[in-house]
């Protein structure tokens, strides 16, 4: 088994708070598409309900990011200065070789694919309700044709599954 740490260089000084994970995912997509730096992180404890996600941004870019979110009809609760010690998502990926198959694990989520065909053999782990649904949507599909879990899911488990899928795709496309 090998561990891979993803790049987490961005350190902004602002945080966008959302009602739920799906709103955060939509906003991340809109901000990134517009070319501004952002990163998914945990909201401060007073905003946590159990399955929560926030966006780290540069506070100086607040006006333009507010405009981007408005144009994208992406809803959020508020934008605040970031507190010290705010937790980021687990960025480590673990890759396990099962001979004909490779399993990639991101936090509590795992995807296993066939090395020869690139077909997703199984999805395991997780505890949020969209995971059994995503299992049905992903299993049996070629990696390149599988839907991105972040597009279909609503939860942090889906976000981690998305990261696992991205790594599977990278490996399938010849990455080391």
């Amino acid at each position: 088994m090998i561990s891979i740490k993803k790049d987490t260089a961005f350190k902004g000084d602002g945080i966008i708070i959302f009602q739920d994970v799906a709103q955060a995912i939509q906003a991340e997509k809109a901000v990134k598409k517009s070319g501004y730096e952002t990163r998914l992180i945990a909201p401060p404890p007073e905003f946590r309900m159990g399955c929560d996600l926030a966006l780290e941004i540069n506070l100086v870019e607040k006006p333009i990011i507010e405009r981007i979110l408005k144009n994208d009809d992406a809803h959020y609760l508020e934008i605040l200065p970031i507190k010290k010690g705010t937790a980021g998502l687990c960025e480590i990926l673990k890759v396990t070789d099962y001979g004909q198959w490779t399993m990639v694990k991101a936090a509590n989520m795992k995807i296993t694919f066939d090395k020869e065909s690139g077909i997703i053999a199984n999805v395991s782990g997780g505890g949020c309700p969209d995971i059994p649904y995503l299992n049905v949507e992903l299993v049996g599909k070629p990696l390149a044709e599988a839907p991105q879990p972040k597009e279909l899911g609503f939860t942090l488990c889906a976000v981690m599954l998305d990261r696992a899928l991205d790594e599977c795709l990278r490996l399938w496309n010849g990455g080391n």
Binding site: P45, D52, W101, A121, G125, C128, P132, L156
Partner: protein, 293 residues
Amino acid sequence: MMLIVGTIPDEELPMTTGPVGLDGEYLTAGGQRIPRIQGTGAMISAALSLTEYLKLEPPHILVAGDIGDGKGTRQMYNYLIENIEELSPDVLVLHYCMPYMDLMEKLCRVVESCPKKIIMIADAGAMYAAKGAGLADKFDIMTPDPSEIAFLADQKATHPAYIAHHLFECDSSKIPQQIADAYSNKSAANLLLVKGKTDYVASEGMVLASINQPDIPILETIGGTGDTITGLVSAFVYAGYKPFDAAVNAVKTNRIAGEFTQPTPATKVSCIIDSFPEVFEKYLQKWNGVCAT
């Protein structure tokens, strides 16, 4: 009565409750058909397999369709909070759901006020909510996998996605320490069954048993093979086994069923579950009273 509560990945499924039955590849309850796939469906199927074998009353279920928007989760919690005293289950198993800490707090409060002791078991989203809300010690059994025991050991994390890197990165030899940390943080149930390459049964911070044979590594890749362990331990407890014996029986059953099935990562969890009766027939009597390894 054993009551199993969890979401089903079908937006159209209304909240459904009643005793569960089996119809081919589907579970049936309250006039609804529920697939036996990863998650709550796999967990219920495993529990039903044991209750059928032991000729016990089948599990009662409370399920609702939810694909992650939380609507079904809220319906189930609100129903439970209103009705748990009247339902009065002997064993309450909480499984796949949105990890809403506020609803978990309300539920734990009403369960504590019930005149009868209810054995509480949690896995998946319900376990995340209980830990996040600081209520893990209200539970009798929790069944984390290796990333989830790292989550329980991490005092700050409110979801496994936020596990500290050093806890996620370490190898499985550190699991006993993570178990001890989870207990010292009050983030563990009375009994923990940690599912993995080696399964650990622990209480009060101490590992009481570790089981690693037969070793079927492929089981980790198959969605639902952790859910089946949760279903089995719940059903063994409902059948009157002590939590420790129930946990050891559950992991042994799952491992041996894996050996019987000779799975690949593409094997469906229902194939593993279908081997359980053969395992019970061959081993259950042998294990009675001599469960510890």
